[in-house]
Symmetry: C2
Subunit: 396 residues, 2 copies
C-alpha cells in the first residue's frame, strides 16, 4: 500500500511493467531453456576485451572519464561513433546530429518528452517491441497499430492511418524486427521518409539489430532517404557489444538533438563516460567488425537450427524466416492460446513470450516469440522438441 495521502500519477496508474521483464524474474530456475529473452549469447559478449579497454581508458583518460561529462557525449566516443556511422551508413551526419543514449529506448523516452503531449497519436507496427510500447504509454500516447506483413508495414495502411490520425510519431524497427524478425522491404523505405515529410510527423527508426545479418544484403536505412530531417535514427551497441553497458545513440537534425539533450539533462545528465569510453576503444581499435564476423556464424547456426525444428511442427503452424536478428515469430492455428500454454511449457522447462504482448491492440493469442541467440544448439533441439510435443497435444 502506498503511504497515506500519496497516489500514482495519471500516466503511471495503469502501467504495471513489461511482461517480458516479469517473465525474466521467474526464469531464475536452473536448467530452464529460455527462448523468452532478447539477450545476445553470452559467448558473444567480449568481456576480456572490455576488461582491458576499460582499464586502458581509465589509466589514459581517467580524470576526464570519472568527472562530469557533457550531455552531448564523451568527446572521443563522438569521434569514433562519427567515423563508424560515416563508414557504415549512407546518410550525412556530423557531431551536432549525434546524441549518445543510455540504450536506444532512451531515445523513445526523449522524443516523447520533447515532441508529444498526452493524447497524441503514435503509429506503431503490429506487432512491435513491447518495451517501447510501454514507454509510449507512459507518455499517454494513443498507439495506433499499422498492419504489417512479412515485408514490414504496409504503405497503404500506413498512409490511411496517417491521414486518419495525424500522428506525431511513427515508431518502426526496420531490420530483423522485434518480435517478428522481418525486415522492411527496400521499396517501402523511401516512401516512408517522403510520407513523414508530406504529412509532418517524425519517424523513430529503431535499428539495433542491423549488424546481425546472417543472409542477404544490407538495405539502406529510412534515414538515408530523409531529405527533410523528419527521420530520427536510433542505433545501439547492445546487440553487438553489450546490452549491460547501455550505450546507444540518436542521429537527428541538430535542433531535435538539442531539445532531447535538454530532456536528458533532467534524467541521467549524461550516459556514463566509462561505458562510452569502452565502446570508443572497441570502435577505435577496429574490434567491432571482426567481432561481428566472429559471432555471426554461431547465430546463423542457431537460427537455422530453430527453423529446422519448426519445420517439424504440426501442420498449420506458420513462422517467419528472418535473415538476421534474434527472433522468430510463430503463428499457431486459430484457437491455440500461447498464454495458457506458457505455464505448462515452463513446467516442462521451456520459456517463450506469448505474442499477444506485442500487439498494441491485444488479441493474437495464437502467436509467440522465440529467441534463438541465447541458447545452445542442444538447448534449441531439446527445448523445441518439448514445445513441439506440448503444442501438438494442444492441437489435438
Amino acid at each position: 500500500m502506498l503511504p497515506s495521502g500519496v497516489s500514482y500519477s495519471e500516466r503511471m496508474r495503469d502501467i504495471s511493467g513489461s511482461a517480458i521483464r516479469a517473465i525474466f524474474k521467474v526464469l531464475g530456475r536452473p536448467g530452464i531453456i529460455s527462448f523468452a529473452g532478447g539477450n545476445p549469447s553470452g559467448d558473444a559478449l567480449p568481456h576480456e576485451a572490455c576488461a582491458e579497454l576499460s582499464r586502458e581508458a581509465l589509466l589514459r583518460d581517467g580524470k576526464r572519464i570519472l568527472q562530469y561529462g557533457a550531455t552531448e557525449g564523451y568527446p572521443p566516443f563522438l569521434e569514433s561513433l562519427l567515423s563508424y556511422l560515416k563508414e557504415s551508413y549512407r546518410f550525412p551526419v556530423e557531431k551536432p546530429n549525434l546524441l549518445p543514449l543510455s540504450g536506444s529506448t532512451q531515445g523513445v523516452d526523449l522524443l516523447c518528452k520533447a515532441f508529444t503531449d498526452p493524447g497524441d497519436t503514435v503509429l506503431v507496427e503490429s506487432p512491435t517491441f513491447l518495451g517501447n510500447m510501454q514507454t509510449l504509454r507512459i507518455y499517454q500516447q494513443k498507439l495506433v497499430p499499422v498492419e504489417s506483413d512479412e515485408h514490414g508495414v504496409m504503405l497503404d495502411a500506413l498512409e490511411n492511418a496517417v491521414k486518419r490520425t495525424h500522428p506525431k510519431l511513427l515508431y518502426i524497427i526496420p531490420t530483423f524486427q522485434n518480435p517478428t524478425g522481418c525486415t522492411l522491404a527496400a521499396e517501402r523505405r523511401e516512401p516512408i521518409a517522403k510520407m513523414a515529410e508530406k504529412y509532418g510527423f517524425l519517424v523513430m527508426e529503431d535499428d539495433p539489430y542491423r549488424d546481425l545479418r546472417y543472409a542477404g544484403e544490407p538495405l539502406p536505412s529510412i534515414k538515408s532517404y530523409d531529405s527533410s530531417d523528419h527521420v530520427v535514427y536510433m542505433g545501439s551497441f547492445s546487440k553487438i557489444i553489450s546490452p549491460g553497458m547501455r550505450v546507444g545513440y540518436m542521429v537527428a537534425h541538430e535542433e531535435i538533438i538539442a531539445k532531447c539533450a535538454i530532456g536528458k539533462q533532467g534524467s541521467d545528465l549524461h550516459t556514463a563516460n566509462l561505458t562510452q569510453a569502452v565502446v570508443d576503444g572497441y570502435l577505435r581499435k577496429g574490434l567491432l567488425k571482426p567481432h561481428i564476423q566472429e559471432i555471426i556464424p554461431a547465430y546463423r547456426d542457431k537460427l537455422n537450427a530453430m527453423l529446422a525444428e519448426l519445420s517439424t511442427f504440426p501442420e498449420g503452424v506458420t513462422y517467419t524466416r528472418p535473415e538476421g536478428g534474434l527472433f522468430i515469430f510463430v503463428t499457431m492455428p486459430e484457437g491455440f492460446n500461447a498464454g495458457a500454454a506458457f505455464k505448462e511449457a515452463v513446467e516442462r522447462g521451456v520459456a517463450y513470450v506469448p505474442g499477444t504482448s506485442f500487439y498494441p491492440e491485444g488479441g493474437h493469442e495464437n502467436t509467440l516469440r522465440l529467441n534463438f541467440s541465447n541458447s545452445t544448439l542442444e538447448q534449441i533441439h531439446d527445448g523445441m522438441g518439448i514445445l513441439r510435443d506440448l503444442f501438438a497435444s494442444k492441437l489435438k
Copy 2:
C-alpha cells in the same frame, strides 16, 4: 528550425537548458579559474583504483556485467550498497527498498513520473539546485519556494506553504545544500518527516554531499525519522567516487521503488552494470572510507582558503560558512548585479554562477554561488583576488 509540421511538446516548449550547463560550455577557455561548476576535484577522482576494479570485475563476472541486467540493480552492488547503508545510516533498509539510479537526479525524474500530474505543486527550498528545478519544470510542476535561513527551510513557512498549496512533493537537500552550503538544523528534521505524514506528501531528501563533512558532527537524515514511508532518500556516489560514472540510489517504501522501477524500464532500462560493479568493488574492498578521509583535508583547506578570501571582501558582503560540501553562497549588497558582473569576471579570467538561477521565483540578483572544490589553493587566492577587485569597483 524544426522539420515542417513538427513542434515541441507543451512541457518542453519553454525549457531551454540549465544555465550552469551553458556556462560550462564557455569555460573551455584555457587558464580560466572556474568557481562555477559543482565538480569534485580531479585529485579526488580515484582513476587508478577504478581502472583495476573495472578490469577485475569484467574478468570475474564479465558475462553477467555485459548482459542485460535487472532494473532493480546489479546483485553484488545491491549487497554492498545495503551493507554501506546499514553501517552508515540510521534508517531501516532492505533490498526491496533500493533502486540504483543513473545519478540521483534520475530519482527526481522517476518520482515526478510516478507521482505527479501536470499542474501539481512541489515545494522547494529557496534557493535550490537548478538542475532539479529544470527536471520539475519538465514535469510541469508548480514550484513553490519555501523561505530558508542558514539552518535550512523554516518550519512555519513550510507548514503554511503545505496548507496553502497541498503539494505532492517537497524537494530538499538537507546537508551542505546546493547552492548555499547550509545544513538543515537537527531539530527541523523530525518535524518535516511528521509533516509529510500528517499532510500526505512525499519528501525527496536529496543528500549527495553528506559524506563531505569538514567540521562538526553528522546529523540524522530526515528519512531516519520517517515512520510512515513518506520520505524518499536519494544518495549518490558522484561526489565521493565519480560523477562521470552516474551511480546513485533511491531508498523508499517498496511500492514506491516498484513504480519507479517501471518508469526506469521505460527510460534507460537499468543503470550500466559496469559502473555499478566498479562502485561495488570500491565499497566491497573498503576503499570508500579511507578515500573520503584522504580527500577531506584538501577540501577543508580549500573551503577555509575561500572563506579567508571572502573575509577581505568589501563591507556589506555576506556569505555562508558551510561545514562541508562544495559551495559557498555569497550575498552582495542590494543593487549589485551578479549576472551583469559575470561577463566582466569571465573577461578577467574567473567564473561563478549568478545566484538568481537558483531561485524558483527569480530575483536575488545580488547573489552568487562559488565552488571551491575544483580549484587549487593558488587559483582560489588569485581568482578571489580578481573577484574582490571587480566587485569592489562595482560597489563604489
